[in-house]
């Protein structure tokens, strides 16, 4: 991992196109500004992980559960 020290309003450029700015830093909170092309998708890691986990649960044994699901849905 590359570790850089930045002060407020200082920036980092990644791959010529992605600009990261430290907007504010107070105690254990850091506010970060990100400018990137629309093709770059940016998520909070915990959100992406939550979607990954949900997909992994949803994507296996789906068919074997479907018949039971039908009964519940049509209650």
């Amino acid at each position: 991992m590359l570790i850089l020290t930045r002060k407020k309003n200082e920036e980092i450029i990644i791959d010529h196109t992605i600009k990261i700015t430290v907007i504010e830093s107070t105690n254990d909170h850091v506010k970060i500004g990100i400018e990137a092309p629309p093709s770059v998708r940016i998520f909070r890691k915990e959100l992406y992980s939550a979607i990954e986990n949900e997909n992994k649960i949803a994507g296996v044994n789906a068919v074997s559960s479907l018949k039971q699901a039908h009964l519940h849905f049509d209650k």
Partner: protein, 147 residues
């Protein structure tokens, strides 16, 4: 007849028109890009079956059936950039259902809908950064709530 190897007991007839290409895969399954959107045989559910790993399949439903107020807004530029903006019709919106405990609990992932373009046969899972829509919206089992 060419068939799809699926979780269902009987092979599902493969139809080229059912193919959906997920260029980016899905979170958690980033390497799987080839799927088929097939009728589950049980309305109102559809099945998104991986053509690369037979044990991977997702149960899909039209989100408006379970949440009439559901809405998502995606810039046209992003749809085009991600390869599902072509064609004459809006992409089909579906959400993935998660069945837990032998289907006694069913939730819908409203925060990461699938956008499917049937004309260009491409799809993406679109993650909504706003947490207005739940990843585990209760469909049955643990009591309903308004969305």
């Amino acid at each position: 007849m060419k068939t799809i190897d699926s979780q269902t007991a009987q092979p599902v007839p493969a139809d080229e028109r059912q193919r959906i290409f997920f260029k980016e895969g899905l979170p958690g399954f980033e390497t799987l890009t080839e799927f088929a959107l097939i009728d589950s045989g049980q309305e109102p559910f559809f099945l998104l079956q991986s053509l690369e790993r037979s044990e991977v399949a997702f149960i899909l439903i039209d989100p408006f059936l379970i949440c009439p107020d559901y809405e998502i807004e995606i810039p046209d530029a992003e749809l085009i950039e991600r390869g599902i903006g072509g064609g004459t019709q809006s992409p089909l919106v579906m959400v993935i259902l998660t069945l837990r405990d032998h289907a006694s609990s069913i939730t819908a992932n409203l925060q990461a809908p699938l956008l499917l373009n049937r004309e260009t046969q491409t799809g993406i899972q679109y993650i909504i950064n706003d947490s207005k829509w739940s990843i585990r919206y209760p469909v049955s089992g643990s009591g309903g709530s308004s969305c």
